[in-house]
Symmetry: C2
Subunit: 247 residues, 2 copies
């Protein structure tokens, strides 16, 4: 027989589908592609101009601390005004984040002054964060993904958090698995947690030699316990499966 | 053979694809569906809250004339302040429409006053128009589609114009074909023009009896000429094809 799709001959044992199903599947594919085109043009329409191109209409500014370590801002006030402000619109922040919504719709200091101070990020990260709120676009590297995920979690911008988590999950390897696992745990990133835990368990033989492992034992031994528990569960399941498969 | 998709038996002459192509097609379908899910969540993210929910942050208002006929506002000034204003954000209007962008980024009266007067629409249409600029959503009926298309053309909101045109094209029938054709011509709606012209040509026998035809001959005879020219071209082509097919 001749395949209607690749136009090559095949044997009966390599048969796939009947003609009707093939034609239906082709139609479905066309429909899905049309839907994708429609959605893409909707995304293009809904994307706002960058706030820097709309600066004359902005009604608040965000200030970042120049401290680059998100977890330990040494002196929050010292560098506040040394980095440029990031202009934005209340309406956009309110639409994108329930945290900004609560902050700006109530009589809070930020709402009155039109200044939102964000101590625990660098200027570059804050700028990318705000840019994402307008455009749903950002160029990620591993550092940026990590910092933006933290910010997205803090301000409950789910879409950005998922985007960063996907990126980080695609970058997990045996070298960074322990660090990724600890990070995922800290920031409730389930997909990243599962991917890194799975990779850790695939490399249990070398786990205890790793520097990050030793650090984790020091800092957060409960997390290490969870690794061992997961490993044990996996071993028990594998053993049970092997037993079932025995003749 | 058994079809892997519908699980029914089929004869050799009803064969569709080989197994490899079937599996590939299934994977492609899954991928396309994932892409659709991603795009849908991006659309949900980019959608702004309705301006009515953001009213405390709006920085301009649009006023509609209560005149319901878009083409003949009898006295533009008479009803300006009798309908409620539609609040909006400069940033959103600038992002969505090059016409609003030019209006608001230059020192025009509208930019200074924060009031945009739109005489040739009803309040309901203007509200739906602005709502669409924020959300890419609108509930259409034939009147609304028609009025919004006009507004979308005027303010160069391409995405909305295409959306309305698609809706109107889906509603063309032998009853409204002549009116749709004239409307499409006036507003550069190519898809609608082709659909209505095709339907007119399918019903040429009754064309001259129609009231809208007689009106069109009065108002815009050149459009009627174009109908006859298209009909003639179609007849010539059909005749040529018939000749080729003759043995």
């Amino acid at each position: 027989m001749w395949c209607q799709s690749c136009r090559e001959e095949y044997e009966e044992r390599d048969a796939g589908t009947c003609k009707e199903c093939y034609e239906e599947a082709s139609e479905t594919e066309e429909e899905l592609k049309r839907e994708i085109d429609d959605l893409k043009s909707k995304v293009a329409f809904l994307r706002l101009a960058s706030p820097h191109d709309l600066v004359s209409t902005t009604d608040l500014v965000l200030h970042a601390s120049s401290s680059t370590s998100p977890s330990s801002p040494s002196n929050p006030n010292s560098s506040l005004c040394t980095t440029p402000a990031v202009p934005a619109h209340r309406a956009v922040l309110i639409s994108r984040s329930p945290v900004f919504k609560a902050m700006l719709e109530n009589e809070m200091e930020e709402s009155r002054s039109g200044i939102i101070k964000i101590y625990d990020v660098s200027y570059d990260v804050l700028r990318s964060f705000v840019h994402y709120l307008y455009t749903a676009e950002v160029l990620l590297d591993e550092h940026m993904a990590c910092d933006l995920l933290i910010l997205a979690e803090k301000y409950q911008v789910k879409h950005l958090k998922i985007f960063c988590e996907k990126f980080m999950t695609s970058k997990v390897n045996s070298e960074n698995a322990v660090a990724s696992y600890a990070f995922a745990h800290r920031h409730n990133a389930k997909q990243l947690l599962e991917a890194s835990l799975s990779l850790i368990m695939d490399n249990m033989a070398t786990l205890t030699e790793r520097e990050e492992y030793k650090e984790l034992v020091e800092k957060d031994p409960r997390l290490v316990v969870e690794i061992y528990e997961a490993y044990l569960t996996r071993q028990v399941n594998t053993a049970a499966k092997d037993l079932t498969l025995q003749p």
